[in-house]
């Protein structure tokens, strides 16, 4: 219950017009801060829904695969240049953003992640690494502005933001590939 309340409070504080407008005024903050925060809010609230509707998650997301596909779909959708623009100009798209990212991306991610095998996890990370590199390249080198509501420089900045995130993910993948955690840790005890 607590988690639901915290999540909703955070969600509301992000939806508040001054906060939302401020975050959306800078392209990279819109995509790399506001959107991930919305997903994280979903992840915070996930435990509540898992406890409340255990059968639902057990039945429909048994191996975690449907959930992660849903997560990928939603996040890919919001990585399109167009949706960024429309979130600014169209009220309904904006509302869809505030609903879809926490509830259709954050919650399924939290529920699926633990169910996935390490290969599954790494494939998801590889997918996003490749996607980030591609999108980053696109944003940096696009001859025309891809977004009508942002300056070209904002777009280049976002492109580099994607590339840096991709570099972070690559470091993680390399670390994961070359360093076998079982050589270093007996059992990863989660609290």
């Amino acid at each position: 219950m607590n988690r639901l309340v915290y999540g909703l409070l955070l969600l509301i504080s992000l939806i508040l017009p001054p906060v939302a407008n401020l975050m959306e005024s800078v392209m990279i903050i819109h995509m790399h801060m506001q959107m991930p925060m919305l997903v994280i809010i979903g992840m915070i609230m996930a435990r509540f829904f898992q406890e409340r509707y255990p059968r639902f998650f057990e039945k429909w997301n048994e191996n975690g695969f449907p959930g992660i596909v849903l997560f990928i779909i939603i996040v890919s959708y919001w990585m399109m240049p167009r949706t960024m623009d429309e979130a600014l100009t169209s009220q309904s798209v904006e509302i869809f953003k505030f609903i879809s990212l926490p509830f259709l991306a954050g919650i399924p991610l939290m529920d699926s992640w633990k169910k996935l095998s390490s290969i599954g996890k790494n494939s998801v990370i590889i997918f996003f690494t490749v996607a980030f590199i591609g999108i980053g390249y696109l944003y940096i080198n696009a001859p025309n502005p891809l977004c009508n509501n942002y300056l070209v420089i904002d777009q280049i900045i976002l492109g580099w933001g994607f590339l840096i995130t991709a570099i972070g993910l690559i470091i993680y993948l390399l670390y994961d590939f070359f360093i076998d955690p079982s050589a270093y840790e007996e059992v990863a005890e989660e609290e």
Binding site: I28, I167, G168, I171, Y172, Y175, E185, A188, E189, E190
Partner: protein, 566 residues
Amino acid sequence: METVIPQAGKAKTVFKEKANKVLGVNLQDALITKAYMSVAFIALFLGGILGLLQGLNRAGLLELPSWLNYYQVLTAHGLLLVVVLSAFFMIGYYYAGLSHTLGGLLPKVRKIAWIGFWLKIFGFVLVLIPLLLNEASVMYTFYPPMAAHPVFYFGLVFIVLGVWALSIGAFIQVANWRKNNKGKHLPILAFFATGSFVLLVGATAFVAVEVLFMIIPWTLGWTDGINVLLARTLFWAFGHTAVNIWYLTAVSVWYCIIPKIIGGYRWNDFLTRMVVIPLVIMNITGGFHHQIIDPGITPEIKFMHVFMSLAIGFPSLMTAYAMFRTFERTGRAKGGKGAFGWFKKLPWGDVRFLSPFIAMAAFAPAGAGGIVQSTNQLDGVVHNTLWIVGHFHLTLGMSVVMTFFGVSYWLIPYISKRVLTPQMNKLGIVQTIIWTIAMIMMSGAQHTVGLLGAPRRTSYTTYGEFSSTLGWDPYLTMLGIGATLLTIGVIIQVYAVFNMMFFAPKGETEFPVAEEEENAPKTPYWTERWGLWVVLTVIVVGMAYVIPIVDMIVNAPPGSPPFKTW
């Protein structure tokens, strides 16, 4: 007073330790630390003497001879104390710690440590040659478009290479230990060392990019102009972090060593690690506050970086609490009664405690000053005045260096298989008192006169007998007196170090790492996931720097040619 020489009765705990601890220090590893400590304290001596020249000049008491430029002296003072003393001490200390807590250095790590040592020494020689020829009086910040002789920058490259070698050595050592000790937590001192070396690599990466890709091609004439603002930004991403690494090193002493010296237990292991992790993740982004009044950066970005800088204050405040709580517990365990009775029970006569304690106490005003400087509007008042100099003499000259001094009174005997005699302890106390008084005088004067507007990095001047600058004179004189006292402190300290290294009575000295309390709660294992912390650091740094740096590159003015203005 706690006795300083470890007594036979205390050896009981030592028996339980691993073999190398019983046998004392590994001599081959000790040699590494000895080499680093010797360089560090020689640098302290030289840097201290240069500091005296400066202080006296600034006080208007001494005119430098014509062959010695004030700014040359200042550059050397900064490099010797901020780069050589701190870095060499830190590496010597951590390598001794790794050797002690991880069961001796691996042969290849030992080799790497020596390669790193000679790379750094070679680098410093390269830096020193143009400096002595007055071809590199550019300060340790070397802001372009002021350009030193290219050899100066080549030297910096070798220093960075040395740092990387040493970091890799430390990582290999830690990885090897973890492989052989599955499921165990990295010993706390090694945990601090890992964090510090991760930060060191991250920080030097920025200066490496600046020097390798911007400055060297430019001073060699391969490129016409340099992006002045970008170079500054890259420098401060390194410069501020470097200083914080020395601070993190001091913090490791406070958490791991001091409780043992006062005869208590370590602070909650989990919370300690939770101080190290955010300090690593959020540190590099703090460097931006050095550019608060620079043009070409939007107020929004500056404001974001105020937050990033102040965020580092949070783990520091956690540390302040942890330290005093540890003191209080230990004092009470020893029979201290009442609200402040425990305070009296602390071993005030032990230099190994007194010096780091004063260092910690100094961090209170030093940290408060730091918050002032990293806050947009307040920085406008003190930016580039002597206030700043006062600030880092409090943080580095007291908080960090006094902790290091305190360490030297057990680390040097430990690596030399000698003991700290009561006489030496007394000398150390005297040194600590002199240093404290001198630093308070000097940095107090610097803070005050900085508020009155006296600029930093300026030789003695009255700006044509300008009336208000004459009001600065009493403070500048006080600064000069402080500098003189400090030189006495330096001489005592350097004497103490080399005496303990070569002449003190033979014997065994322990490496005092405190234990956890017996019923201490278990630390979650995820704190060990260094891969994750590194990735988080990369992403946080990336997000903080991507906006301004892309802006600086895309909207850059035509580049500036090199200038030699001295």
